[in-house]
């Protein structure tokens, strides 16, 4: 077993680079990448880092030279033979050859495109521009690099035993969560913590702890590298970037209104079963479901990623009932800001009424709250598509605190998608 404290104490990026592999990323990025590679290969996009927690002044904490070193290291990575074999030969969601030969060939030759980095107001402006299938693969490594450099900056200078005790406390905390979670009958839970992780070794530890502690209740990890290394399921479907970019590309309001459904129509062609998961909140869950075509009701489930999760799930259940579907056969995946209390509460409320599953992120892989004052507390860092073919992207979300895009475009999108008053909820992670 890796002695994380010692590795962190002696850490040296040449031994422990933050991102070790092109598949040290979320599985859904690869699924989406293949879909984009097929459907929108020439779309030009810009992704940008956004730190929603302004109080964490990343540019003051993290040395620019170290950041560039890590980002340059990511650019030097290419798919290893073993990784390629795994992607080509492994079974994902019960299906062989999930990744098609033409995509794999392209992926094997891929290096990530350049980045653009500047400091402004104590924050880093980190952007990536280029072809969508290439640029989109920066999201997870960029977040992981910044998250872990922040951890390392805080831990730097701590004594060896101080560090070991810090990790001892963090381990105890994770384990106590697991001890509570394993009391939940019929729990299904996956690790979704790559992007906000404290560090790679830590995420890997958390995954192994879940394996031992939860047994079959732990269904897998979003992280491909760890899934491969630990021989467990890679988990994930699709994300907001698809409707955001499709919508930005729409030429008219009519096309815009249809764009989120076009995303899922393309997905419908490519995937079936448990990969047919609706992510309805990009421009408001309620309107999305109200206007959804009937074929979407046959999809396996829905992922609730913003707003009040109880409200979101109740809307979905009502929608399925209204459209003649049996909700008990449907899957609801909760993935927004989860911790044990909320998982218990949501499971209690929805288990039996629908099939419930959880994608647990930041509070699994980065709950160091209070372990170094507040200096290791989680914060809200994202890396999003901000434009496509020169047009700004927009996200409304079910929580206006997570909305993004230029004000006039936000207004237009709200009108097109019929989004009215929304309740703002604090975004901590």
């Amino acid at each position: 077993m890796v002695d994380i404290a010692t590795r962190v104490h002696n850490h040296n990026w040449k031994i422990d680079p933050i991102v070790r592999s092109l598949i040290d990323t979320d599985f859904y990025k690869l699924l989406m990448c293949q879909s984009i590679f097929r459907n929108k290969p020439d779309t030009t996009v810009e992704f940008s880092l956004i730190n929603r927690t302004k109080a964490v002044r990343l540019a003051d904490l993290i040395d620019e030279g170290e950041l560039r070193e890590q980002l340059d290291h990511v650019r030097s990575l290419s798919l290893s033979r073993g990784e390629s074999t795994w992607l080509r030969g492994n079974t994902f969601y019960g299906k062989r050859q999930m990744f098609r030969p033409d995509f794999m060939e392209w992926f094997e030759n891929l290096r990530l495109p350049p980045y653009h980095l500047e400091k402004r107001d104590g924050q880093y402006e980190l952007t990536f521009e280029g072809k969508w299938p290439e640029v989109m693969l920066w999201e997870i490594p960029a977040l992981a690099v910044l998250m872990e450099l922040r951890s390392r900056a805080v831990l730097k200078g701590m004594g060896k035993f101080e560090l070991q005790v810090l990790y001892a406390r963090a381990m105890t905390r994770v384990w106590e969560k697991i001890e509570r979670l394993r009391e939940i009958d019929t729990l299904k839970l996956a690790d979704f913590g790559t992007r906000r992780r404290h560090g790679f070794l830590w995420q890997d530890w958390c995954v192994q702890a879940l394996q031992e502690g939860l047994g079959d209740k732990f269904i897998g990890t979003s992280n491909c590298r760890i899934a491969m290394k630990r021989d467990i399921e890679a988990i994930g479907t699709n994300a907001h970037e698809l409707p955001m970019v499709y919508s930005a590309l729409a030429d008219t309001d009519e096309e815009l209104a249809q764009a989120p459904y076009q995303v899922l129509a393309d997905w419908h062609e490519e995937h079936d079963g448990n990969l047919r998961i609706i992510l309805p909140d990009t421009y408001g869950t309620e309107g999305f479901l109200r206007n959804a075509p009937d074929w979407l009701t046959t999809w396996t489930g829905i992922r609730i990623d913003s707003g009040d999760p109880v409200v979101g799930a109740e809307i979905a259940i009502r929608w399925w009932k209204d459209r003649g579907e049996d909700p008990t056969k449907k899957l609801v995946i909760f993935s927004d800001g989860l911790d044990v209390d909320k998982i218990e509460e949501l499971h209690k409320r929805f288990a039996g009424r629908v099939r419930v599953s959880f994608g647990w992120g930041t509070m699994l892989t980065n709950d160091f709250r209070g372990l170094a004052g507040d200096r290791l507390n989680p914060f809200s860092l994202v890396c999003k598509a901000v434009s496509a073919n020169g047009r700004p992207t927009v996200k409304l979300s079910d929580n206006p605190s997570k909305a993004m895009g230029p004000a006039d475009e936000v207004t237009r999108y709200k009108r097109v998608f019929g989004v009215g008053e929304q309740t703002a909820m604090e975004v901590t992670v």
Copy 2:
């Protein structure tokens, strides 16, 4: 840094024998051994294991085959060249060549004598008979073997992560104690935890944590092997076995009354400075000091190892004052059943009035209370000289719960040493 949890999980006595070296023992055993080698080399003694905590049924917990393997392994050990060099060349208590060439030569050729092992009523009867200088060296390894086999028996079958979290909790607990202790100005504290340790690796971890956490307030360890390995001071002076055996050898009541002073007279010849520490409680502290010869008042200090430590230290202070000594120049070493609360309390009460020092044992190296139900809770195991040249030994102590010896002899000793009513205190460790 050693990953203890993994080592314990994969443990195999051939990789991790419990006792790794003849100097994996307390420093005072070696000092006493040399003294006995010089003064009483031909005395025959019997040492015996005594489990004061009957509820812990060692023979039910620990496999006899494993116990014999470990004891046989101890008998296979001899002093390594590096250990011999260290003992011969190192400075102990500021003095070079503490161990004389004739003693070192004898020690280099030593193998521990046979043991006798039987099961009775869920306990092991483990005894050692032979020449005092040889047999007395069994005490610490025998205790360490039984303590660690008990730990291993409880930990057997735990999962890797369950174990890691158990150690994480134990580490956090030790560290939180250290964080409290380092707030005490002028603290002087040594590790006295070898005999009751959870395990060798764990004691070694605790010592390193004390080094980092307490800095100069940590003055050393009683464990020679760890002192050598970690390049720190080896700490210790003398123990009850000296007056117990000297007393058993006395032919008359008059000789008996003088025996404890004869021990210190012999010690006086051999040692000076911080090694001149009175251990007064074998047959009652009060009487011992009352009848002590004047030259003893010039000794550096006293070790309080049973009874109410406040009472013991106050008696010593009064005694020094009565005999015209300045208590502020004297050293009081507390070493009985300490934990942080008591250390804080004793330091607060006595710092400044005397020089205070602490020998912290079981609650440093074996505080796993509650971490596996009560199955890892500390218990009170000792290994004592029970006879010398065929005569039973007696200990009265300042706490009658720690007394030992045949009833008629106890009565005789009480009369000879003028010990009246004593207050029994629970012995938990």
